[in-house]
């Protein structure tokens, strides 16, 4: 297959950046999107040009490193896929593909398609944990957890922290990401003691980082590679109200 690629090139955070057009030929339909970029980069290296920088590592949709806008869609064509899961057979031969980094103020571009997502880590540091000292845990089966709750917690915990929810949201909101963590812990008995502080601190940090508010657009759910449901946002809102209420009471 062949493609015309319009790729965002930006040397560093201060460079204004621009699109550059490249042609790639002889791409196997079974190649992944990133393997197609490997082919392009190999050619660029051979020509002595700087290859396109992009983050990636596991290449099986679990580490959350990869992520780019392809023709305006976070992680490109297909549902429930990270960019590394996308296969070239999902595009038409000869198609034009516009490839850009995540666009969101809290995720500044580092180089080309690489963005800085440390804002997510800082939200986690603010409260995305259960405080248990190493060695202080009770026997694992001491507290049963209803299977339905455990399963729903697992659904939420599947988030890979890629940031597609933010990139696809017109407000650059991080609500789906935060909701996934808050919801996971709210569903488990182990998460109860810190329930109030957790949601408050995470939301506070989220606001501090400059993520926008949620206006129920739901683009996040549609583009999330792990299919995290917006019902978790509803739970997050309830948790937040509950926390505010108990604090005032």
């Amino acid at each position: 297959m062949k493609f015309t690629l319009k790729i965002w090139r930006q040397k560093n955070q201060n460079d204004p950046g621009r699109f550059v057009t490249y042609e790639v030929n002889n791409i196997s339909a079974d190649a992944s999107f990133l393997e197609m970029l490997d082919v392009l980069n190999n050619e660029l290296v051979q020509k002595g040009e700087d290859p396109v920088a992009f983050d990636h590592d596991c290449r099986e949709g679990i580490c959350g490193s990869c992520g780019m806008m392809i023709n305006g869609r976070a992680h490109g064509e297909g549902r429930s896929m990270a960019t590394c899961d996308v296969r070239m057979r999902m595009y038409k031969d000869g198609e034009d593909l516009v490839v850009e980094p995540w666009r969101a103020k809290p995720f500044p571009v580092v180089k080309d398609l690489v963005v800085d997502r440390r804002a997510f880590d800082r939200i986690m540091q603010a409260g995305g944990f259960i405080s248990v000292k190493t060695g202080a845990a009770p026997e694992a089966n001491a507290v049963p957890v209803p299977k339905a709750n455990a399963d729903e917690a697992m659904d939420a915990a599947a988030c890979i922290g890629c940031g597609a929810c933010v990139a696809s949201c017109p407000n650059s909101s991080a609500m789906l990401f935060v909701a996934a963590k808050v919801s996971q812990f709210a569903l488990l008995p182990q998460g109860q003691p810190e329930r109030r502080e957790r949601v408050e601190r995470m939301i506070e940090q989220m606001d501090k980082e400059g993520f926008g508010a949620c206006s129920n657009n739901y683009a996040c759910e549609a583009e999330c590679p792990k299919g995290i449901s917006v019902t978790h946002i509803a739970r997050l809102n309830r948790e937040f109200l509950r926390a505010e209420f108990t604090e005032k009471a």
Partner: protein, 637 residues
Amino acid sequence: MVLNSNIPDGPIEKKWSEHRFHMKLVNPSNRRKYTVIVVGTGLAGASAAASLGEMGYKVLAFSYHESPRRAHSIAAQGGINAPKNYANDGDSVYRLFYDTLKGGDYRAREANVYRLAEVSGSIIDQCVAQGVPFARDYSGYLDNRSFGGAQVSRTFYARGQTGQQLLLGAYAALSRQIGAKTVQFFDRREMLDLTVVDGQARGIVVRNLRTGAVESYVGDAVVLATGGYANTYYLSTMAKASNATAVWRAYKRGAAFANPCFTQIHPTCIPVGGDYQSKLTLMSESLRNDGRIWVPKKSGDTRSPSQIPEAERDYYLERLYPSFGNLVPRDVASRRAKEMCDKGFGVGPTKMAVYLDFADAIKRNSKAWIEEKYGNLFDMYHEITAEDPYSVPMRIYPAVHYTMGGLWVDYNLMTTIPGLFVVGEANFSDHGANRLGASALMQGLADGYFVLPYTLGNYLASTKFASVTVEHEGFRETRASVQERVDRLMSIKGKKPVSEIHRELGKVMWEYVGMGRTAAGLTKALKLIPEIREQFWKDAKVVGDPDTINNELEKAGRIADFLELGELIARDALHREESCGGHFREEHQTPEGEAKRNDKKFAYVAAWEYTGDARTPKLNKEPLKFEYVKPSERSYK
């Protein structure tokens, strides 16, 4: 070089607790005065850094990832072992110890393996308390499944994403400490060398991958948790960036490298598709619980699987190993798959694959039942191959997956350089010549949560430290040598992209140092690898600038190290004139084609010592003694 394993005296069940009792302790109020450097924040590093930070040490943690949550551990699928005996099927610490030692083909230390089994139960407790959503049954209690090499159900899992959930648990614990400022995390930093001062590991030199700056950090001890080196083979199931640079640099600074040839080939991966391919995708071994492996009885059969009647299928693992069947250990399953394909029974377009069939399990239970257990794995297979595994059997083939070898450590996880500790896949310690499924996550977390925090404290409490800053001569020298190497890579200005050279190395490794090894093949590899290395330093093309993100420069440095390590793997494989676990020398097999160990000559750990670039490394031996489990032929019949 002296190899002292420092295994404590006493009966095996008491060694660890007595050892802990005799350790020197650092008074909690003094811990702040010690700085511990942790390189790598996968399962082993994140759990270690979080625990040490919580205890009050000043911890500096480093990773080439931007976030600890991206570490390769995230990709582990199947599960983690612990002998909780919730299934009431006769499991115990002793049985897990026995299975792991036997699974490793009697090439690991009894005392280490026993300790691993002993602390593994606490890992599950810890993770549940952190909010790890392990699978549960309808009663609300934890569920288990079985894995290769065991006849009991002791594997805890979180769908097909166990590594992800455990890593997110450790990452959360680490995040809490970063928030509390006990741990400082340095992201996008790649350790390129170790600084040794007065014989003690005192710090590291890293390259800041955003800016290209070469930075140094001083500590009282250095912990490497940098993962395995399977990417020496180019195609493997490892994450693309996984590499050996940290351990290799430490080796060159005096840490012994143990059993490098013990590499694991995983039996159930998606077969290679084409030249563009950048990595191999694993299908969790847990699939062998419900999937049946077969090939057509007729060689060269081109019919589609549905047209091959039951009577014309060879379920060869069930035929050869009636008691373990599809659940034989990885090395056995891999070798048998290769043998079937070599004999012409392979299936699929390349004929380098065997079937893994779920039709019976779907009939016995239901499609929904399979979906609940393995849904995400089936989706992944479907995405990659465009075939629906619910209706067509999967095609699988072995791929390089894990490295049992690594830096030599004593019982305290310390290398031959005082103050340099190694945890997780990067050390050689517990899996002998073959690792059983669901045991790497267990070992990484055992090291990080429950072993290192004690042994490191003992080291700090019993050692005197000179005051050292980054201006010390030792640091200057390391910085200069790191800078010199970066400059050298940037100035080769050859014609070949470094990935192509890596691929060439990978081909040699897979062909001659892969699943079936021979003296002739290994000798050939020992000739070819230095040739590729020479070509690399002459003809590699490293483009871009050294002062921004430069993936090509990063890759080049890692490949340069693989080109040296690859040679050591081949050398070790050639010297080990026996077959054991993942190391299969074709000259040494039983008439039935099973691995034939030579306990008289090779019941030792091979610890290689660096003696200079132009000289062959020196082999040191740590003899292995078996007081509790008598080595026998590892039979799974």
